[in-house]
């Protein structure tokens, strides 16, 4: 067992963990952060994407001990405390960017990171930027639309009612 201390969703936490424990297992099994989900065993699907020190990572591809001293943000604290959705969440809802919703936490966390890096991406840049996240429901059409709309929302050039027509 190894003792780790980190900051997850704006709370300080500390636990003894097995060195082999994955960050996603730590989040789900020890902290109850079940908003982050596991979709594969091979780091292909991206469903478990969270932010580690502000950058997106697949949390199945990080050991919990590697997150010692780090800041981890998950889908569960993306919205404001008063319930106001993050623009990316708002965009996915507005543009019907999800169906079953299982890939959605990872898609949204990846999108936040993508837009941090490139606030005004082209459709092509969005498609390439989401290549590490699989979705089986939407055919990506409305996910791509959601990301482009989120970019507009964040730049203040769109209102929340015109997303589906964007």
């Amino acid at each position: 067992m190894t003792k780790i201390s980190l900051r997850v969703d704006q709370e300080n936490v500390s636990d003894d963990v097995e060195p082999r424990m994955l960050l996603v297992q730590y989040l789900r099994e020890r902290l109850g952060k079940t908003g982050t989900v596991i979709g594969c065993d091979t780091s292909n699907c991206g469903a478990c994407t969270v932010h580690l020190n502000g950058r997106s990572v697949k949390s199945c591809n990080v050991l919990a001990v590697q997150a010692d001293g780090a800041t981890v943000d998950t889908i569960e604290r993306l919205a404001s405390d008063d319930g106001t959705l993050h623009p990316v969440q708002e965009a996915f809802r507005e543009c019907h960017g999800l169906q079953c919703g299982f890939c959605t936490p990872g898609m949204i966390m990846q999108t936040v990171d993508l837009l941090n890096e490139n606030p005004n991406p082209t459709e092509e840049e969005v498609r390439v930027g989401l290549e590490g996240n699989l979705c089986r429901c939407t055919g990506y059409h409305n996910i791509v639309k959601s990301v482009l709309y989120a970019a507009q929302l964040q730049q203040g050039v769109a209102t929340e009612t015109e997303g589906a027509n964007a």
Binding site: G32, V37, E94, Q99
Partner: protein
């Protein structure tokens, strides 16, 4: 009671692109996937699986695992044999169908690589998996049979005791059924004085690959045993658990919480559910099992897996005179829940939108030592649509005419509805002309044909192909009487209940069980319109057999067509019941009371009362009509008379690099008639996702086993699901002709895209290179296969020699 209606007017909900109610919890991570559950004292289970496709189990040593730290118990098949029940097939397609007994946990023999052999129960999932490594199993390896054609030879047997790999032969003949002529006569005539197209087509094996791995939690504590499971079919699971384990049905509660996709892959009774149920009963504590992705790929059922032999007879002008189909369908190692019923569903769809005068369908199901197959999005209908749309293109090529021209020559004209097809189904409404015209216009059909010609003339390295698919499907599975005639073991009705709460809110309980389709939103819209209550006041409940006692769940594009109609009928019963109360409260004659926009009024007066007020008055029951029970809640069960028949015209343009074989999607347009659209945002989303699953069969996906029967495409590294970067945007349009089979006029949308798109893509690629002598390329159309086809070897050219059985001794005429 209010004399004046001062409520804001509610605008119609049906047809409105409402944002989904379910999204709030999904985008904030407040979800209840089965694997998210943690119950007090819950233990975790791991499964030891067979590494061999076919073997006898000679010994199982559980001792080392049992002694490991934090291990609670270990089981093999013999230990659970009397309590674990069996896996059932609900659809014996013929009375003499062969179906070996299928235990959830193998007892003495394993029949595919991945079959469950032993289980370990531990305090944590990690400890269970560690200890699973300590289970020592010895096998006597038996030869596996893996290929459909090899299996048909009966030389190596998947189940030696059966003496054959053949399970059942299901046949339909239009002459015998009285629905059409004699197909053999039509083919003979065409051989001497017409055109005969004969093809062998391969439907490769696919993996549904829903994003949420399957998970099950069973809590045996309390009076009822509760099972949470990632399933499409909680009601059927409950029934089947009772029927096979001897536990009274009233002692079982099944809950499908948030379910992360299914696509038919969770239309299943799984050994994992049955084993977890048995183990929880043995131990008396809650047990969880969540599969890994690799387990999901290897052991969740697969789909498609057919060899199709098609013979199409036509006159010299292209008028089709007959179609003969023989399928060899791979069951895998057991007959699954629907089993051979899945390919048989295609029997009614090979004739598609066409007026074929003669038709014969034969389906031979066969065992192999591979993962069993069952429903995957479309289930039988994509296979049928693929074959007929591929062959109609070949007929057009034979005649040198545009593929749309040959279709129009043979399709049912819009003036001919209702039309009874050669397979005996009556199509109620449709308009293939309008859908095609709209699609052509949106696609820029003539311009793309011009570009294709220009590239061809120029000898461009990148050739343009245009693929057509004018599909139909049968939805709303299924009318109970038809299921009975097909020997299916259950009905196909659907159920709904509406509860009028004292506070004016409305609870709608549905028997269909969503896993991404947006039922909560769409059904709220239907009820809001019908009862005249605000959309926000409607709560849709589902997926828990204790809440929703009756239902037959979600698959086969049935939820809206059947479940939606059940909701409408339940709402109408509420309105009728509440009308008696409203009349009493207004001291009016019930015959003078009218209901509109959520309000009862008395003809010729300004009296009125809202339905929410009636609900409150019913709750208090202080002032109630004599002899009338104080309850306006209602339920309804709807059983359809026939199917509904969505259709559409799909056009796909691809660019094929003739030097590398690389295929690039250029444009995809579809115009579908899915009947009345309740929520265009959701319906279009269903089309997008469906299209990609069909496109993906054409271009990318295949479940591949090696010669020992190991699944080599057993993870997302090897099984190619497309990413956003592989795809394009789609132009999805509608051409609505409401269905007459239900009062909303809906037809079903969940499977349409998948059914239609596969042949559109393959036809497009073949069209791009047909001038180079290519007539077929086996799916998935990898660059290697396209390139090989272009070299004049492989692709489609190699498959005709093996065409069986009704091509034997006949001249290949293509």
């Amino acid at each position: 009671m209010t004399a004046v209606d001062d409520r804001p007017t509610l605008s119609p909900e049906i047809g409105r692109d409402r944002r989904r109610k379910e999204d709030q919890r999904l985008i904030t991570g407040r979800t209840r996937w089965t694997d998210n559950l943690a119950l007090p004292g819950m233990l975790h289970m791991a499964i030891v699986r067979s590494p061999y496709a076919h073997a006898r189990i000679t010994s199982i040593d559980l001792e080392a695992a049992d002694k490991a730290i934090n291990i609670y118990d270990v089981f093999d098949g013999k230990k659970l044999q009397d309590s674990m029940g069996v896996m059932i097939n609900a659809w014996p397609i013929t009375p003499d169908q062969k179906a070996p007994t299928h235990y959830p946990l193998a007892v003495d023999r394993v029949t595919f690589a991945g079959e469950a052999v032993a289980v370990v129960v531990a305090r944590s999932a990690a400890e269970a998996r560690d200890a699973a490594e300590l289970v020592d199993i010895e096998y006597e390896v038996l030869p596996p049979v893996l290929d459909i054609k090899e299996a048909l030879k009966d030389e190596v047997l998947a189940h030696p005791d059966l003496g054959t790999n053949k399970s059942a032969l299901w046949q339909f003949d239009s002459a015998a059924a009285g629905t059409g002529g004699n197909v053999d006569e039509a083919i003979e005539k065409a051989r001497s004085d017409g055109i005969v197209i004969e093809r062998e087509l391969i439907q490769q094996r696919l993996i549904p690959a829903f994003m949420e791995p399957r998970s099950v939690v069973v809590d045996p504590v309390g009076e009822q045993i509760t099972m949470w499971t990632a399933t499409q079919i909680p009601h059927i699971v409950k029934f089947a658990l009772a029927a096979t384990t001897g536990v009274p049905e009233s002692k079982i509660r099944v809950i499908a919480p948030d379910v992360g996709g299914g696509f038919g892959g969770k239309l299943a009774l799984t050994p994992e559910e049955w084993i977890t149920f048995a183990v929880a009963r043995h131990i008396g504590k809650p047990i969880k099992f969540t599969e890994t992705r690799s387990e999901s790929m290897a052991t969740g059922h697969h789909g498609r897996a057919q060899v199709q032999h098609i013979t199409l007879a036509a006159e010299k002008d292209g008028t089709v005179t007959g179609l003969k189909v023989h399928l060899d369908a791979d069951l895998g190692s057991y007959v699954a829940l629907l089993g051979g019923g899945t390919p048989v569903l295609g029997a009614f769809m090979f004739n598609a939108i066409y007026k074929f005068p003669a038709y014969q369908f034969n389906c031979q199901t066969v065992f192999t030592n591979r993962t069993w197959t069952d429903a995957y999005r479309g289930a039988g209908r994509p296979e049928a649509t693929f074959a007929i749309e591929r062959v109609m293109d070949d007929l057009a090529a034979e005649l040198g005419v545009d593929p749309l021209e040959i279709r129009e020559k043979n399709w049912i004209k819009n003036t001919e509805f209702p039309f009874t097809t050669v397979s005996g189904l009556q199509y109620d409404t449709g308009n293939y002309e309008v859908a095609t015209e709209k699609a052509k216009a949106a696609f820029g059909y003539d311009e793309l044909r011009a570009e294709q010609k220009e590239r061809r003339d120029r000898g461009d390295r990148v050739q343009l192909g245009i693929g057509v698919s004018t599909f139909t499907e049968m939805c709303g599975l299924a009318p109970s009487r038809i299921l009975g005639a097909l020997s299916y073991g259950a009905g196909g009705w659907e159920h709904a209940e509406i509860r009028m709460l004292a506070t004016g809110k409305v609870e709608v309980v549905i028997g269909v069980s969503p896993h991404g389709q947006g039922h909560e939103t769409a059904f709220s819209q239907i009820v809001a319109d019908r009862l005249g209550v605000p959309f926000e006041d409607v709560e849709v409940l589902h997926g828990d057999t204790q809440v929703s006692a009756r239902g037959l769940d979600t698959y086969g594009s049935r939820s809206l067509v059947l479940g939606g109609e059940a909701v409408v009928r339940a709402a109408d019963k509420v309105i009728e019941k509440a009308k008696v109360v409203a009349a009493h409260l207004m001291e009016a004659n019930v015959d003078d009371v009218q209901f509109a926009n959520g309000r009862y009024t008395v003809a010729g007066t300004d009296q009125g009362i809202g339905i929410a007020e009636v609900a409150l008055a019913t709750f208090t029951a202080h002032n109630f009509p004599e002899g009338f029970e104080p309850n306006i809640d209602s339920e309804a069960t709807f059983d359809a008379v026939t199917f509904s028949f969505p259709h559409g015209t799909h056009l796909c343009a691809t660019e094929v690099d003739t030097e590398t074989g690389q295929v690039k999607l250029r444009k995809y347009v579809c115009v579908d008639d899915i009947g009345t659209v309740i929520n265009p945002l959701i319906a279009t989303g269903q089309m997008h996702g469906g299209l990609v699953q069909g496109i993906s069969q054409a271009l990318w996906e295949e479940a591949v086993h090696d010669e020992q029967g190991n699944l080599v495409s057993g993870s997302f590294v090897d099984y190619l699901l497309p990413t956003a970067a592989d795809l394009i945007n789609f132009d999805v349009g509608h051409a609505v002709n409401p269905s007459t089979t239900n009062s909303l006029g809906t037809k079903g949308v969940g499977e349409a895209g998948t059914i239609a798109s596969t042949p559109a893509v393959v036809n497009s690629v073949v069209d791009a290179v047909r001038h180079r002598g290519v007539t077929d390329i086996v799916m998935p159309l990898t660059p290697e296969r396209v390139w090989t086809a272009l070299q004049g070897s492989g692709g489609g050219a190699a498959t005709v020699e093996a065409a069986e059985p009704h091509f034997e001794g006949q001249e290949d005429n293509r």
